[in-house]
Symmetry: C2
Subunit: 696 residues, 2 copies
Amino acid sequence: MRMNATWGKVAMIFMFGLLSGANAQPQTSATLNLMPWPANVQQGSGALKIDQSFAIAFTGYTEPRLDRAGQRFVDRLHRQTGLLLANKGGDAAKATLVVHTDKASKEVQELGEDESYTLEVTSQGAKLNAANPLGALRGLQTFLQLVDVSPNGFAAPAVSIKDQPRFAWRGLMIDSSRHFTPLDVLKRNLDGMEAVKLNVFHWHISDNQGFRAESKKFPKLHGSGSAGLFYTQDEIRDVIAYARDRGMRVVPEFDMPGHSTSWLVGYPEIASGPGPFNIDQDWGVMDPAIDPTNEKTYKFLDEFIGEMTKLFPDHYFHIGGDEVNGKAWDSNTKIQEFKKAHNFKTNEELQAYFSGRVQKLVNKHGKATIGWDEIFVPGAPKDIVIHSWRGPKALAEAAKQGYQGILSNGYYIDLMWSAARHYAVDPLSGDAASLSPDEQKRVLGGEATMWSEYVNWENIDSRIWPRTAAIAERFWSPQNVTDVNSMYTRMENVSEKLEWIGLTHKSYYRKMLQRIAGPATPEEFAALKTLVDVLEPVKDYTREQTATYQANSATPLNRVVDVASPDSDVARHFDNAATAFVSGACKDAATSAQLRAWLLKWQANDAALQSLAQKSSLVKEVAPNSQDLSAVAGIGLAALDAISQGTKLSDDAKAQAAAIIADAGKGKAQLLLVPTSTIQKLVDAASNGGACAGKN
Amino acid sequence: MRMNATWGKVAMIFMFGLLSGANAQPQTSATLNLMPWPANVQQGSGALKIDQSFAIAFTGYTEPRLDRAGQRFVDRLHRQTGLLLANKGGDAAKATLVVHTDKASKEVQELGEDESYTLEVTSQGAKLNAANPLGALRGLQTFLQLVDVSPNGFAAPAVSIKDQPRFAWRGLMIDSSRHFTPLDVLKRNLDGMEAVKLNVFHWHISDNQGFRAESKKFPKLHGSGSAGLFYTQDEIRDVIAYARDRGMRVVPEFDMPGHSTSWLVGYPEIASGPGPFNIDQDWGVMDPAIDPTNEKTYKFLDEFIGEMTKLFPDHYFHIGGDEVNGKAWDSNTKIQEFKKAHNFKTNEELQAYFSGRVQKLVNKHGKATIGWDEIFVPGAPKDIVIHSWRGPKALAEAAKQGYQGILSNGYYIDLMWSAARHYAVDPLSGDAASLSPDEQKRVLGGEATMWSEYVNWENIDSRIWPRTAAIAERFWSPQNVTDVNSMYTRMENVSEKLEWIGLTHKSYYRKMLQRIAGPATPEEFAALKTLVDVLEPVKDYTREQTATYQANSATPLNRVVDVASPDSDVARHFDNAATAFVSGACKDAATSAQLRAWLLKWQANDAALQSLAQKSSLVKEVAPNSQDLSAVAGIGLAALDAISQGTKLSDDAKAQAAAIIADAGKGKAQLLLVPTSTIQKLVDAASNGGACAGKN
């Protein structure tokens, strides 16, 4: 489900509370580029050289999945190093890396299966031991993260790791309805999930804007509800097999009774209102809903759930359940009569009735229900899982009543938060922190959610990665792993490695900028990149709220807001430097020079950008952002001058700066100029000259 | 065939001659980013807006290939613009672009088929007319190149184009033997070829290092000769269909009697020397050769050619024929006796006998032979095509005797020449320039050749593109289209567009640098990029000649020499600026400032680079290049200072500069520091102060 604006605000306030309350623990080691950070790490001395003689061998329990994992591992290692690896034979006595697996895992991957492993790397070789193939898969990814170029060629540092996840449910949801996700895009993201040890792919496969799964029993679902963009059952089985190979479950979501316009296009007979229906093109919460009072609905759903629970082998079946606005029910007299007859005072009670019946159908077909907060109704069967978009409070409430749940509130990656902000969210924080140990066990983990209004094949990777790696660490690593600087250092390294498996979250950037720049000179292109490097899309639902037109599924995603990173690396590095400078009493000359170089570049950048804006309408949109960057850079330079000369900014200068900074701080073209707040820090240091100089 | 070092030198001297003699004609218009430049262009006023309402319609003759071309066109346009194109229906009255095709082309594409088209673009719409589908395909690519972002969204400028190729044979050869070319890599390069109107994919599919085509008659050819890396016949048919869809012929090359070790692994009975044979791992000219004196050989080749001419429908069958060193023949007494019996004085005569017999076999199976210079022997059938690696002289000689030929000398893209250097080579230059008009018609065109010793899936695109676009222009455009600056401007634009079809010649760069950089800080990574941006791999066969170890098929291609561009954009822009500055009497202050900014950046770059060199062995290799860059930048700055102060460099300073520049000019780590020669220009201007200031 997509948080609406009200909930977004509540969540935001809540998150800021969390952020400031977060208790950052130092990492045991900052030199290993591992993410998620393992439960236990001990660094040794020396390193294992990786060269062409590298070979991997599997001992103990084996299966074709492990063979394929070995092949994939060698291919990854080749891509990552450029080395042509002999990998001859599978002789454990001669292998560089020996993987020992004790026994098989379950035929259909289950919630809570053992994923632990140990990994010993010495200069002589490496040993990976796991109880079952899942642990082996996790350990192989850890090994790949250890390998990097060194002063002596490629190597993995000596290390002893004993690792297991904190939470059993570590997911990524992808919404394939609002924008269809091509199969190759899905698969490369599953590869990314494997790399950071996520284990649930939650496939949001139907919504108002498209029914993307082929149904053989009800062919008008995808036939009339997808405009031809759907996954065949063979393709779905292929994705499931692909996920299983990577130690991941696939949980499908068929959202009902709301978010269901696409169902009703082909099957208006189960709708609450009169048809005909068309696939929704627009974004937002829609009125159409399935009729919960019609026995035809349950007959339909019985057959449909029967078909889909056979297609998707996972034990859990996600029925959505979110955001029913009730309008279709209110305007249907038959439904009103039904409510009266059943003594339902509210639409929530009517939905509870619906949820209860659907949960029984899911159980009848041998599965358990998962759904958004709304399915948590009195008398719900104890085997359901509450998927909380509302927050930890709702999750804690459920846990107290004996229900299991997972958290997505705080992990909505479509909201363009920084990795740090997501990283500060813990499934066992807030109300959940005071749960008893037994109650806490019911909090199974969480899921990052990629709602797809503003992502397509081209930029989706950049909205999922690398931030989801930080969220994956939150789900896997011990609760006290919270150092944000360490997280960013490791995330930047992992981000580079993720491109070797085919993700495009970094390489998309230059290409999309080039389209925006069009016939630019090299200098003009550089100016555009310099500007966009420090812009971020506006956060939460501000994009909708500030839109000058109604965005929909036909809106091109080719603007600067579609390419700018949600978490600017350059702005973060600038802020880190400025923060260190100011807190170091503004004394460090090297940092001062570095800050000055940034500011001079930004100040001078506007000329070439404005020239390009005359040629490209897509650049013209960000011309005001560029003027702002130039202006605030000028303020930053004046502040630096004042600091270096030991003078204090005048009140006039301060007031003028404050006005410019306030204006630049506003979102323009749905983009935020991130360095603005950092420049305010320099102004504060300069104007509060006493404080900055006072530390001398 | 691969030019050996002697020939390389001859070619180089020849080319420099050509370069200086080239007669640069001004372009009629520099504002259209078209490549190859059309035969006739007239710019109109206004532009055709491209938005979501865009639709394409086909009239006249139609076929499924045109439908697919339309679909591919719409997909390309979407990728290039980010617009979701409705493209509803095929109603010519409402379409934005109407493509009219008169009649079908040949069922199997033939040499010399009509590829002409006309394209009229006005603010109201566009019309593309072609005699057959080949012309329509060419015109669609022209239209795609016209579309770019403008002050008013995406648009194509109003233009009237009447276009046809200068040469009928415009090819790219890819060597899939030395490094296997994965199918997806091949296909994206075929897409690139289509984009620049090439029409022959010459597939060098067997050589000493691998026999890559499945043979059902002789399964040990690929079975024993490819280490498992071969194309099945289905895959080959798929590639041929893919090429036909794009208006391209596929000419296979089975190189014989030399370059054939991989054949002999499975079939030693047709070898000139005793077996057993192993697939060659090393690069270079090898001794093994097919036995031209054994009737078994011709029986084998009859059956083999029969099979392969059925698989490859093109009329031409390439039999290689190059670089037989004769050692296997000299050491076989039976072959010596055969030579005596036939009164063959030389091995060349023996090879001529072999060529003649193979040419007859090719004719017997309904095809004509193409082969390298060596197949041009007295009495050769008149239907053969001479593929000249030796140069225009050989080509002219053949044309005089009534033989057709194509040129590859000068288009060896593995030799790391700049685009300008390839661009200056004309198939009808040198001895060919003085041919009679009828003789000139026998020069059919040329081929760029991608020999694959130093390319794999990762960097091959960057060695083919964008330079091959300049060669494609040489083959397509009128002979007087020779302006190098215009070529580079247009090539840089086309290069960006080529990435939208999946080529990775630009995006590979950051990724390979990242692997080399390993655990770099952002500043260190930037320093590495700044350095590599101005390095080029050494030219011609210097890489082999300066190697400290014997490179072979197991050598990793992960060094800076494997990533550095063959034609540095930054160094070219720097040189253009410096050349303009010096020729403008060193007066332009803005250019002076620009040059100073470059030089300051380079001078300061070494510190971060050396720091990174301590962490990465792959960076350490280029640490001397970085010191050189810093040193020559210092010299450049001193020269600029002297110029701006109106002083003259002392003889001592000049001598010192000369020594440093001479040292920096040497290849190090098999890389050239390109700005060195430009900095010499600044030194000349400064020391010859009179000349530079004299223009004031």
